[in-house]
């Protein structure tokens, strides 16, 4: 990075944060602080929903997914449009009608205090843990490749987002997310265009022949991580939980000028999300093709990790692996060229032979990459052996012109700040509304004190996220780590809301203990998966199982308790 890159990076990031802070510095109304301006339109809501979901990991890890495993990951989002339709038709109108600040306030009105607290606690627990991951994930990658100090990178991202989120609350979050999404869109399109100019004419066919463009898999094989069915059903439950019951999303759309604006904002996302993820994954698949034709494609993309171990006592082993990879890479280039020459005669014996030879050379290269990872692991059991998260950032730093590098690093920061702001805003709001105001009902009438406390809680969660990111070690595959944590808690939380909306005879005590039982079941499934092979299925199914278990347990408990049992009353719905 040169001076121009630094000017672009700091100019956009600090500029947007400063603008958001300055424009919303006088926010002292609780409604505006927690829900944003009343005049907020559908486009701002839609962009805010998208920006909260699209973290920096989206733009670092997902191209890596496309590079490593192809574009099949797009199926994970198949349930999302259907979930958003349900949120629009059922959840949003009720939230707006009741005038709640948080989704868990609704649980208090529908059931009782303890169920409201359980919902808020599940949210605070999983989102609080995730807030550390979402700040750590981009920081570890950026600090590794750019040679920055990890702790200072975490603190810079954390402090910047805390300043404007605490100052202006939801109003600042909405305002800054619009500009941050503009930076993200400009950066990603620029990177894509530059990549296209560097690719051969047959790039898509090469990617397809090497198995990178298998978008949809209709098989029912449970061993396959991403299929149409797991994406549709698991993704539906995950998205319904996330958009319908996670305060970081609910907060983005319950404000706004009217019900119409919230609905259109969500429908905007229902249309946008799959094409956007497809675009990012295709970028990764095309990066794979690009690196097939580069003479110095590394055997392992996290060069810092590689060089840390390749200069010690195992230097000769690592050098031999590099040489072996370079030789096989050269062979693969020749095989790809041979297949491209035969491609026009698809199905002919020569084309079939050329394709088989190309795939064989691909397998040989993959085997050396695996050997390299095994060597790293043998040299240091704690070595970070997953390098796909480093593919896109390597391309950015080595292939893009100065200025554009700064813009792409700004994309990562913008995404980190946008999603982080939404999270902190929601954590601060839930802590204020569902905990502090709940336990201090008299103080709740003092509006200025409410705003002051919301600011304090937001700052505290920001400090917690920074501390967690500084001191915790995280799973290597960061986007999966986030989705796994979410899936463990989301299904049960969704189950509570499904009972609230659709199973009207079930009351507070039954749903509370039903949810506890379902959560214990999910914990058991997660911890037993390594010892009982049949339980080792895709984590997306935790969303389905958690939700269904919560509903079934609640209904059964209500039958046992009976309509005249303890706590048979429901609090008044607003």
């Amino acid at each position: 990075m040169n001076l121009l890159d630094w000017m672009v990076l700091l100019g956009t990031m600090v500029g947007i944060a400063a603008y958001g802070t300055w424009r919303t510095r006088h926010t002292d109304n609780l409604n505006t602080y927690l829900k944003g301006n009343k005049s907020t339109g559908w486009l701002t809501i839609g962009i805010s929903v998208a920006a909260t979901q699209a973290s920096a990991i989206t733009f670092l890890s997902i191209p890596g997914q496309g590079f490593e495993s192809g574009i099949g990951f797009v199926q994970n989002y198949f349930g999302l449009p259907l979930a958003l339709i349900i949120v629009c038709a059922v959840f949003l109108p009720i939230y707006r009608k009741l005038g709640v600040y948080t989704a868990y306030e609704f649980l208090g009105q529908r059931f009782d205090k303890k169920t409201r607290l359980l919902g808020a606690a599940l949210f605070l627990l999983q989102r609080g843990v995730q807030s550390g991951v979402t700040i750590y994930a981009p920081a570890i990658i950026l600090s590794t490749v750019l040679g920055w100090r990890l702790d200072l990178t975490i603190i810079f991202i954390g402090v910047l987002v805390v300043v404007y989120t605490v100052t202006g609350g939801s109003a600042a979050v909405n305002l800054t997310q619009k500009w941050q999404m503009g930076v993200i869109f400009a950066g990603m399109v620029t990177a894509f265009v530059v990549l296209l100019t560097k690719l051969p004419g047959d790039a898509a066919h090469i990617a397809g022949a090497l198995g990178k463009l298998e978008a949809v898999d209709f098989s029912m094989n449970p061993d396959r991580r991403y299929t149409f069915w797991s994406g549709l059903f698991g993704g539906l439950f995950l998205s319904l939980s996330y958009f319908g019951t996670d305060q970081s999303q609910v907060q983005r759309y319950i404000g706004g000028a009217s019900l119409r604006e919230g609905r259109l904002g969500l429908m905007f996302n229902a249309l946008l999300k799959i094409p956007m993820q497809f675009f990012i994954l295709v970028l990764g698949a095309l990066l794979f093709v690009f690196y097939q034709f580069q003479p110095n494609t590394p055997v392992f993309f996290n060069r810092v990790e590689w060089e840390r171990h390749s200069t010690g006592e195992n230097a000769s082993q690592f050098l031999a692996l590099e040489q072996k990879h370079a030789a096989l890479h050269q062979v693969k280039q020749e095989k790809i060229a041979a297949w491209v020459a035969e491609r026009e005669t698809e199905g002919s014996a020569a084309e079939v032979r050329a394709r088989a030879a190309m795939l064989e050379s691909q397998r040989a290269v993959e085997a050396v990459r695996k050997e390299a990872k095994d060597a790293l692991r043998a040299a240091d059991p704690r070595a970070k052996v997953k390098d796909s998260d480093y593919v896109f950032i390597t391309f950015i730093l080595t292939q893009l012109p100065n200025g554009v590098i700064g813009l792409l690093i700004a994309v990562m920061f913008a995404a980190a700040l946008g999603s982080k702001a939404g999270e902190l805003n929601a954590l601060g709001t839930t802590s204020t509304i569902d905990l502090w105001r709940h336990f201090r009902p008299l103080a709740a009438h003092n509006e200025a004190r409410n705003v002051r406390n919301a600011k304090w809680f937001t700052a505290l969660w920001g400090a917690f996220a920074i501390a967690f990111a500084l001191f915790a070690g995280f799973a290597e595959n960061l986007i999966e780590a986030i989705n796994i944590i979410a899936s463990i808690f989301y299904g049960v939380l969704l189950g509570v809301f499904v009972v609230a909306f659709f199973v009207k005879h079930v009351r507070g005590t039954a749903v509370f203990w039903g949810a506890i039982g379902a959560q214990l079941l999910i914990f058991a499934l997660r911890f037993l998966k390594d010892t009982i092979p049949v339980l080792d299925f895709s984590y997306l199914w935790y969303n389905v199982i958690g939700c269904v278990a919560c509903v079934v347990f609640s209904v059964l408990l209500q039958l046992v308790i009976g309509p005249g049992g303890p706590h048979s009353t429901r609090t008044q719905a607003a």
Partner: protein, 52 residues
């Protein structure tokens, strides 16, 4: 004295028009979004097939 359960609040009616050209009801908007999703899946299935 037993306290009768209070009915859960029902969502407001969908009478408020979406205000989107070509759509008079929200059901129409939802159908359009669902249709777009189906088309996207078909598009992805075609890509899978063409580039396999």
């Amino acid at each position: 004295m037993p306290i009768s359960p209070t009915p859960v609040a029902k969502p407001p009616s969908d009478n408020e028009p979406p205000g989107v050209p070509g759509f008079r009801t929200w059901k129409g908007v939802y159908a359009f979004v669902f249709g777009a999703f189906i088309l996207m899946v078909i598009f992805l299935a075609i890509i899978t097939r063409v580039y396999a």
